[in-house]
Amino acid sequence: MQRVQRRCHEGGRHHALYYAIMQASRPDQSRGIGVATDAPRAALDRQVREVIEWHFDPSTGSPFWLDFAKKAGWDPRREIGGFADLTRFGQFDDEALRGGPVERWIPKGYAGRPVFVFETGGTTGVPKTRVAFEDFRVDYDIFSATLPDEFFPRGANWLMLGPSGPRRLRLSVEHLAQTRGGICFSVDLDPRWVIKLIKRGWSDHLQAYKDHVIDQAVTILQAGHDIRCMFATPKLLESLALRLESMETTIRKAGITGIFSGGTEFTPQWNRFAHEELLDGAYMTPTYGNTLMGLAASAPSGPHNNYKIAYYAPQPRAAIEVVDFGDPDKLVGYGETGRVKLTTLTKEFFMPGFLERDEGEREPACDKFPWDGISGVRPYRGFAATTTVGVY
């Protein structure tokens, strides 16, 4: 079979342990994620078997999945042999994550350990929750390995210019800073209030709240903490850059050398605009993710590829598939458009086949990430009219 290999420009050091196995061979692009003839796929299948064994073993599994197996009438430990078999679970209904007791998601094998609970967005009703122990740290350790030290210097301090509150992202960025030897400063930002302001059309309040958040960021940047790295949502990064410009300075002159950002607002055009007009030479890398999956890093993006952004999930801990709008079990061809289907495969959290509220184009593997990716991520057309993009 013909192999199609896209070349990425290496942007930083790799996490040796994580990537060693992934670099061993390349996926068969013509058949995509469903082929078990390559190392990434073999690792994914191994991960599936290990996670299934854990979550459906009565001594280690979570009450939710043990109850699922009891009602389903089949034993996943016997019948799931690899990633392709996960379609047996159907589509994951994220409504199951709403409400309590949240303990039903805690694997018995982790009983007694300190547990975090993270919430997804949401403006009304009971939020969806995910329990976590170490996943957010592991995910960001892996992500850390993709960051170039030149722009994200070890030991540098960070600013987290994103949502606070019960967010995985907030603790994750703090861990990222710590694991790289720095300290993370953050702002108070309630994204649910932002969405309410947008829905109510209170544009003056929205602007005032945005100003309030940027005030905090500017204060921290000017306070002598030697902050050089930052997470920011695209909208907040834009606002910060414009504020600094009005103060006759820039992001780079304020000391920032490296930024990672993310969200569906992070389009190639915005990426280009930011590089050409906002960053003043600071390095920025896009990311895609959520509380349920974790963090997908990007292949390097810039003028060389017209600022195209392709994301790659942290396989085998999570996988992104781009599937047919009408048939979520069918992958679309490379370059074709489909809906984002996420699968999370850790011992802390098992989520097979969740149809995300985003769509995009399926991307082939590249040097840095030898498995499928996705580009052009944007709100899923079926929900786009009702999706309110807040601070992201």
């Binding site: 544009s203 414009l242 410009e245 280009r272 930011a274 007009e277």
Partner: protein, 474 residues
């Protein structure tokens, strides 16, 4: 195929994101339009004051002359359009192809725009009540021995423009001669007028730094509104409600324009039938000034019958047909949704579709990918019927039976009211009614505008603040 860039203070900027503008019937791409992003606009607006500065380097009198020249170029010249050029005929064809408006209506709207540019001096004189225009430039002066001062409230005006009716562009044409810059966000199906008009202005010697054009989606419109001190936006009732009371935004929405026939005239209603037909049908009923309600205390069934008979003859014709009177709906599903909404309202007691009796086909017709709604006349026995307060973007009118003494309380907000009455008491009430914007007394079509008069607020009062100003010798 043409590629239209973003214009950032007159300078082209080709975005990575482009939106195709397609032929409403064939789906054929006509142009690729660069999509701006919000931050880009916010950043550009830091230089908004420059737009007014470069315009103030020319006297208003000179700008008026150049606007007139721009009008001639807009009507007659082949002008740059993105990476190509466009003749007047090409402009008409493109506008018709993407908006669904018949070509003859596109030409009529061109004439309207050119007329406003040609008559700019008289229009500004009227809107300023004869003020010496250089006072708007210097900010202060003296009139009849009294010191006066007018202060521009923003160096630029943001315009979030619609796709449905190219005639609305007349509203912003006086802005450049007032030495205020333009920040245009074109309607998604009608980028043509903003680009052609901008090029006409440039060719006529208006500095490029005075005009920006930012195509894009809702985020672009929001960024324009957030960034400009004064804005005009065109939209539906929710848009108007959202910006009501916001001094920075003048929202133009549905007009709910009406003809009221007084008891003293209603017995000779047949003499006013032409006025009624014109008011409903002109420009395919798309405008806010089209009549959507005819109110009278009696003879309403006969009026509805006669109107329906006349309008039932209107057919969906190809846009290039010189007799085409109906515009197509360009967004799939819209016509069907409107037709269903009308059918739902027709279930109410005392409400009937009069045109249905005179048509040999359903209200909605499809021709290829194009969808049309045929003119619809609905009779309402009382103003309580929900449909009596509806307005749609096609020749649609309700004929409502209502006692004259209750009319003014019942009609609701009305952009244009043509009241056919000589009764002094009724006339007095009409003149005093604050929910009527434009008032015509007599058989004047609601679509007949006097360009020397303000429309939905005086542009001068929106853009300039009259204030106290004193000086003392030093």
């Amino acid at each position: 195929m043409l590629s239209l860039p973003v214009l950032r203070w007159g300078q082209p900027y080709t975005s990575i994101d482009v939106d195709p503008v397609v032929h409403f019937a064939t789906g054929e791409p006509i142009a690729n339009v660069s999509r701006a992003n919000g931050g880009l606009i916010q950043r550009d607006m830091r230089k908004a004051s420059r737009a007014r500065e470069v315009l103030r380097e020319m006297p208003i009198d000179e700008l008026i002359t150049r606007a007139g020249r721009a009008g001639e170029l807009y009507m007659n010249a082949t002008l740059p359009m993105g990476d190509g050029t466009q003749s007047p005929d090409g402009f008409v064809r493109a506008q018709s192809a993407t908006t669904g408006l018949p070509e003859r209506m596109c030409r009529a709207n061109m004439k309207k725009n050119a007329f406003v540019l040609a008559e700019m001096r008289s229009i500004l004189t009227s809107l300023t009540r004869g003020l010496a225009l250089d006072i708007l430039s210097s900010g202060h002066g003296e009139e009849r021995g009294v010191p006066i001062s007018f202060q521009a409230q923003s160096p630029v005006v943001g315009l979030v423009l619609p796709s449905n009716s190219p005639g609305v562009h007349t509203l912003w044409l006086p802005v450049i001669p007032l030495q205020i810059g333009l920040v245009l966000k074109p309607g998604p199906q009608e980028p043509w007028t903003p680009y052609r008009m901008a090029e006409a202005f440039f060719q006529a010697g208006i500095p490029r730094e005075a005009i920006s054009v930012y195509p894009g989606g809702g985020d672009v419109g929001a960024a324009v509104l957030d960034s400009c001190g004064r804005n005009l936006i065109f939209g539906g009732t929710p848009t108007v409600d959202r910006y009501r009371g916001n001094p920075r935004v003048q929202a133009h929405g549905p007009g709910f324009s009406k003809i009221l026939v007084g008891d003293d005239q209603v017995d000779r209603w047949e003499q006013f039938l032409d006025v009624m037909v014109d008011s409903v049908l002109l420009n395919s009923g798309r405008g806010c000034i089209n009549c959507s309600g005819i109110w009278a205390s009696r003879h309403t069934r006969e009026i509805a019958d006669a109107l329906a008979r006349r309008l039932a003859g209107v057919r969906a014709l190809p846009p290039e047909d010189p007799d085409a009177a109906l515009a197509a709906f360009t967004v799939p599903g819209t016509a069907d949704a409107i037709s269903r909404a009308i059918d739902a309202d027709l279930q109410a007691p005392g409400v009937s579709d009069v045109t249905a009796r005179f048509r040999d086909q359903p209200r909605m017709v499809k021709q290829g990918n194009a969808e049309y709604l045929l003119p619809t006349v609905v009779h309402c026995e009382s103003p309580e019927a929900a449909i009596a307060m509806k307005e749609y973007m096609f020749p649609f009118v309700t004929v409502v039976e209502c006692p004259e003494k209750k009319m003014l309380d019942a009609i609701g907000p009305t952009l244009v009211c043509s009241a056919i009455t000589c009764d002094p008491g009724f006339r007095r009430g009409l003149v005093d009614a604050v929910h009527i914007d434009r008032l015509n007394l007599g058989p004047v079509p609601t679509t007949q505008l006097n360009w020397l008069q303000p429309h939905e607020g005086n542009l001068i009062e929106f853009l300039f603040r009259a204030r106290a100003f004193q000086t003392a010798n030093l």
